[in-house]
Structure formats: structure tokens, C-alpha cells
């Protein structure tokens, strides 16, 4: 299986260009965050936002909107996007397959099954209570995929087949359960859209440790993955412990993705497309690709959440739907415009 990446012809990022991109992305992130805090059904100005963040007044309606509704959404979308982008970059580097998506590891399928069981068996209908079952289901499914895929000796093709098989298995179980219970379908069909509606600061706090640990493991795995991209034997010759590297990368993907699914439901696309854009801007070195994937992912999801909130779409379009609606055409456009170049 050869790896390839989307790229502009004769574009290979140099250090200067990379820093330019980095600056541009940070600027965009800042501007977008301000927009996300001020726009919505109730437009708020800069002074109110500043006040809400620094000098919170619980009786001021603007402050309440900014501080309790928009800020958690902004942080949640940013964290989820960064996590999805990083896990996408990791799985594509690890399987050397540019089409690999974190969803392939069965995390989304496992989380969905956990949620459906939770509704069916425990009668839970509040999405805030899905967090731990979604996380548990996602972790269980991905460990299963990883073991079937050959554990630390995972070869790319096998991992993909195992992932697809386990995902399909879980999806089939989920659908069967949904057919049995109409009430379950009624709760599930809204959760599956994926979004940051009504996200609680407490949720973010409880998931933060998973995200931080995942990001740390991602950075550690990055050192070995760089060598692994040169091929198994070369990496071993360079003294990289390939099995350990894969295991670390796998754990990072599972933690980052699992926490995201638990927070916002299954969000398609970010993990697949963001690394391509990041590699185009930063080159194939995994350290840069991780950093850029995190930033572009955050940008993508904050933008998706903001767009979905605006009146344009009736003020109530989930971020997960928006990422697919924006991302699909973008991916196809990139493919058409740049062709595909072998790495």
C-alpha cells in the first residue's frame, strides 16, 4: 500500500513558509474565537465579551450567554477539533495510508453501541450522561481492533480490515437495537449528528485529562513515527522500537478520539481531511504535521459550530453535519485541483 498525499504541484514547504502558515493560523484562530463569542442569536460587543471573561456579572444577560453558553462551546469545539486532527495525523502516519480515518479504529462504532445500550437498558435520555458509556464503548472497540490488527506488529492492511470488520459489527448491533426500540431511535438520531449544543464546563473538565494524556502520547509517538515512515527495517536500523511506537500512537489515537466522541458524538471528516491540509502546509515531518493538524482541526470545528449556529441554517445545525457539508466538497476540490502525489 503506497502512501500519497494531497499537494500542490512543486510546493514543498520551507521553514519560512511554515512559520508564515503558523502565524496565519494563529491569527485566524484568534479572530474566529472572537467571532464565536460575539455572534449568535444575541450579538454581543467586545466590551461585554471582555467583561464576561474578566469581570463576570451573573445578572448580566450578555455575560451569561458569553460565559455559560458560547465559551464552553468554543473551548469544546477547539479541543475536539485539535484532538481529531492530531489523531488523524497519527493514524495516517501509522498505517501509511492517507485514507485512514480515526473512525476506522472502531471508536465511533463502539461509542454509538455504548450509547444505544445505555438508552435501551438504563433508559437514559440526557446526552450529558452518555459521556462515560461513549468513552468506554469507544475504548473497548478500539482495543479490540488493535488486538485483531496485530497489536504492536500491526500491519497497515490488516489494521484497516480489522477496523472495518469491527466497525461494521458494532454498527450492525447498533442498528438492530434501534429497530427493536422506537424510543431509543428517537434519542439516538439526534445524538448521532454530533455537536456542541448545551455542552457543560463540567464535561470539558472531566475529559481534559484524557485529552492532555493523549496529546502527550502523540508527541512521544511522533519521534518514532518519523522513522517508521521510512519503512519498518529502516526504522529498526535507526534504533526505533517500532512496536512500542505503534502502541503509543494507538493509545494516543484512542484517548484523543474517545474523549471527542464522548464530548460531542461522532464527528466525521475532521480526522481524515485536516492532516492532508496540514501536510500540505507543513510538509510530512510528523512533529509539524501534528501541530498544524491540531490547529487546523480546531479552526475547522470552531468554524463549523459557529456556522451551524448562525441563522443561515435556521440557527440549529449540528457541528458534525456542518463539518461533513463543508469538508466533503473541500476534500473533493483538493483532490481535483492537486491530483494525488506519491509520498
Amino acid at each position: 500500500m503506497t502512501a500519497s498525499t494531497l499537494s500542490l504541484p512543486r510546493h514543498s514547504p520551507t521553514g519560512d513558509l511554515r512559520l508564515l502558515w503558523l502565524g496565519a493560523a494563529l491569527l485566524a484562530l484568534g479572530l474566529l474565537s472572537i467571532a464565536a463569542l460575539s455572534l449568535g442569536a444575541r450579538a454581543t460587543g467586545g466590551a461585554e465579551i471582555w467583561g464576561a471573561l474578566t469581570n463576570y456579572d451573573p445578572d448580566n444577560a450578555d455575560h451569561i450567554v458569553v460565559r455559560n453558553m458560547r465559551l464552553p462551546r468554543l473551548i469544546g469545539a477547539g479541543l475536539a477539533g485539535a484532538a481529531l486532527g492530531m489523531s488523524g495525523a497519527l493514524i495516517q502516519a501509522m498505517t501509511r495510508n492517507p485514507l485512514a480515518d480515526p473512525g476506522l479504529l472502531g471508536i465511533n462504532g463502539g461509542a454509538a453501541l455504548g450509547v444505544v445500550l445505555c438508552i435501551l437498558v438504563l433508559g437514559v435520555t440526557d446526552p450529558a450522561e452518555f459521556i462515560w458509556v461513549a468513552l468506554g464503548g469507544g475504548l473497548a472497540a478500539s482495543v479490540l481492533v488493535f488486538l485483531l490488527g496485530g497489536g504492536s506488529q500491526a500491519n497497515p492492511l490488516r489494521l484497516i480490515l480489522a477496523g472495518a470488520a469491527v466497525s461494521a459489527l458494532f454498527l450492525a448491533l447498533t442498528r438492530a437495537l434501534l429497530l427493536v426500540s422506537r424510543q431509543t431511535l428517537d434519542v439516538y438520531r439526534f445524538w448521532v449528528l454530533g455537536g456542541f449544543d448545551g455542552i457543560q464546563p463540567a464535561t470539558l473538565q472531566s475529559l481534559l485529562p484524557f485529552l492532555i494524556l493523549g496529546a502527550l502520547l502523540a508527541i512521544i509517538a511522533g519521534f518514532g513515527l518519523n522513522a517508521l515512515m521510512l519503512g519498518e527495517d529502516t526504522a529498526k536500523g535507526l534504533g526505533v522500537r517500532t512496536g512500542l511506537t505503534r502502541l503509543t500512537a494507538g493509545a494516543a489515537i484512542v484517548l484523543l478520539c474517545g474523549a471527542t466522541v464522548a464530548m460531542a458524538g461522532p464527528i466525521a471528516f475532521a480526522g481524515l481531511i485536516v492532516p492532508h491540509i496540514a501536510r500540505w502546509a507543513a510538509g510530512p515531518a510528523i512533529g509539524w504535521s501534528l501541530a498544524f493538524s491540531a490547529m487546523f482541526g480546531a479552526l475547522l470545528l470552531i468554524a463549523a459550530d459557529l456556522l451551524g449556529r448562525l441563522a443561515l441554517f435556521g440557527g440549529n445545525m449540528q457541528a458534525g453535519v456542518m463539518t461533513a457539508l463543508i469538508g466533503g466538497p473541500v476534500l473533493i476540490w483538493l483532490v481535483r485541483r492537486n491530483g494525488v502525489r506519491k509520498l
Binding site: 485514507l99 450492525a172 428517537d186 483532490v335
Partner: protein, 338 residues
């Protein structure tokens, strides 16, 4: 043990194990079909069946066998074979198991088309699905085309289309009333309930029409598994070939969806399973067709076996196909051949 058949410029190599495995596969399919005909809330013995087929039996027995079970089972076999063939064509041509029609958006297109039709007209689910699948397939192929059909362009474009259509489908389901959503959830899984002889005629007629093309395409298909420049060096015109293969694969997928709905996993799994049963995966198309037919028939029989509720076959296609694929993966892993 390898035999080589030569016919002017065409040659075909057949190994003894491939012949044996293929023969075994087909006998298993046949045995399962006979078994499925006997099973049901109204059991029929093989002796009963012989009698009914020669014009005997009671009116009820005749109705059950000839009007219900036979069309249903023959449709399951035909649709499964079409799914398996379609998946194997794309996967072999693109050298990537992810290139199966269900991964690159055909099933998502069919589902989305069905949902849109339901939203707009309150019915017309099946025509909507076929139109959706065909439009998706044509648009994906057109968008991916650039002086040929490079594998990665097709897969990336297809995955993009699939994600958009899946999201749209989820969105449409969330905007429907609970009753319609539940009905659609049933159909969107793929089912073989209440199939008639016209379905049998459609799917088998389609397969027969496409058979000569498939036989012809079978020769270059195995060589497409090599790198592009080698295949070109062997004198293969890649672009027209890929276009012909893609067109055939699209027709097969549409045929399957139009008779069984978007059954999950059959198109994806038939090829890899067949490839692991038969050494170096030849003749891959025949084996994939038999595997697809078997998975679909088993799934439908399992769905019929559940009493009280009419479960769709699609619930079981992945439940049956996925463990088989997993077991084969594990077995290969132990032998160290993967």
C-alpha cells in the same frame, strides 16, 4: 498443481486448490439454499419440495414454496453475488480494500436518495435509492476522472461523497417524525422481505447480461493488481479499462441495491474473504460472487429465523460477515502470511 488454458492470445492459469475451493464454495451455497428452502414457520422436507416442483403438493405448500420462499432465496443469491462482484471489481482494480462501493459512497447515495424521495413524495423509496446510487456513482467517477481514473482519486472522492451523504441522511432522519424515521430505519438496512419473481428476473437477468463483460474483464483485472507502469508496460490501456470496470461495478451495485436495499458489508467483505480462502485470490470474481451470495443468503435466513418480528437481513449481513473476516485474519496471522 497448475493447469494453463490457452485460447489464441488469452491464457488462464488454474491451480488445483483454486478449483477445489471454488467447487466447495459453490456446493456450500447450493446446500445452504436448499436448507433455506426447507426452513420457516411452515417446514417443508426435501421430499415435499420434489413433489411440489413436479406439480404435486397442496395449494398452501405450492404458494409457500413457489410464491414466497423460492423468489426470496433466489433474489438473495443474485443480489449477494452482484454485491460481491461489484466489491471485488473495485477492490482489485484499485488495489485497496477500501475501494468497495459501500465505502466510496454508493450505499450512502442510495440511502440518501431513498430519504429524499420519502421526504418529497412520502414514498417512492426504491426508485429514489436507485437514482441516488447511480447519481452518486456517476458524480464520484466524473469528479475523480483526470486523464484516467487514478485509484487514490477515486477513493478520496468517494469517501468525501460518502461522508457528505451520510451526514445528509442523518440530518434528514433527525428532521422526520418518529414513525417515518422508524420505517426508514428498517428499509435503510437492506431487506429481502416480500420478494417476488420479478425481483428474481431483474437481478438474474442483469447478472446474465453483464456476464460476458465480466468474463472479458477478468483477464486484465488480475494484472491490474500490479503497479501502473508495469501494467502499461504489459500493453494494457489503463484508462479505458478502468472506465469499463467502473461502469460494470456501478451497474452491479445498482442492481444489488435495487433488489435488496443497501445491505451493509457484503460488497466490502466478499472480496477479502474470498481472497483469503483461495490461494493468490484467483479466480477472484467467481469466488467473490459465491461469497457474497452466501453471506446474503445466511443473513436473510437468520433474519427469517427470528420469530415474531420481521427483522431486515441487513442486521445480520455484518454480524455474519465480520466475524468470518476476523477469524480469517487471525488464522492468517498465526500462519504469519499476512
Amino acid at each position: 498443481m497448475i493447469w494453463t488454458l490457452r485460447l489464441s492470445a488469452l491464457s488462464l492459469q488454474i491451480s488445483r486448490r483454486a478449483v477445489l475451493t471454488a467447487a466447495l464454495l459453490f456446493s456450500v451455497v447450493l446446500a445452504t439454499a436448499v436448507l433455506a428452502l426447507t426452513l420457516g414457520s411452515y417446514p417443508l422436507s426435501p421430499a415435499d419440495m420434489r413433489e411440489i416442483l413436479t406439480g404435486g403438493g397442496t395449494a398452501i405448500q405450492q404458494m409457500i414454496l413457489l410464491d414466497h420462499r423460492m423468489p426470496r432465496i433466489l433474489t438473495a443469491l443474485g443480489a449477494g453475488a452482484a454485491f460481491g462482484l461489484s466489491g471485488a471489481l473495485f477492490q482489485t482494480m484499485m488495489r485497496n480494500p477500501l475501494a468497495s462501493p459501500d465505502v466510496i459512497g454508493f450505499n450512502a447515495g442510495a440511502s440518501c436518495g431513498a430519504l429524499v424521495a420519502m421526504m418529497l413524495t412520502g414514498g417512492m423509496v426504491l426508485p429514489g435509492a436507485i437514482v441516488g446510487a447511480l447519481i452518486t456513482a456517476s458524480v464520484v467517477t466524473l469528479l475523480a476522472w483526470s486523464r484516467g481514473l487514478p485509484p487514490y482519486r477515486l477513493i478520496l472522492t468517494g469517501v468525501g461523497a460518502s461522508l457528505v451523504l451520510t451526514a445528509l441522511g442523518d440530518l434528514l432522519i433527525s428532521r422526520m417524525d418518529a414513525q417515518t424515521a422508524a420505517d426508514m430505519a428498517q428499509w435503510l438496512i437492506g431487506t429481502l422481505n416480500a420478494r417476488s419473481w420479478s425481483d428474481v428476473a431483474l437481478v438474474w437477468g442483469g447478472l446474465l447480461l453483464l456476464a460476458p463483460t465480466l468474463v472479458w474483464l477478468h483477464f486484465p483485472l488480475t494484472r491490474l493488481g500490479m503497479a501502473d507502469d508495469i501494467a502499461t508496460g504489459l500493453g494494457m490501456a489503463l484508462s479505458p479499462l478502468r472506465l469499463a470496470l467502473t461502469g460494470t461495478g456501478i451497474l452491479l451495485a445498482a442492481l444489488a441495491v435495487s433488489t435488496a436495499g443497501p445491505l451493509p458489508f457484503v460488497a466490502f467483505a466478499a472480496g477479502p474473504i474470498a481472497r483469503r480462502l483461495i490461494p493468490n485470490g484467483r479466480p477472484v470474481l467467481l469466488a467473490a460472487a459465491a461469497t457474497g451470495a452466501l453471506i446474503t443468503l445466511l443473513a436473510d435466513t437468520a433474519a427469517r429465523a427470528v420469530p415474531m418480528i420481521q427483522l431486515p437481513a441487513g442486521v445480520f449481513s455484518a454480524l455474519i460477515g465480520a466475524p468470518v473476516l476476523i477469524c480469517l485474519l487471525l488464522a492468517q496471522f498465526r500462519k504469519g502470511t499476512l
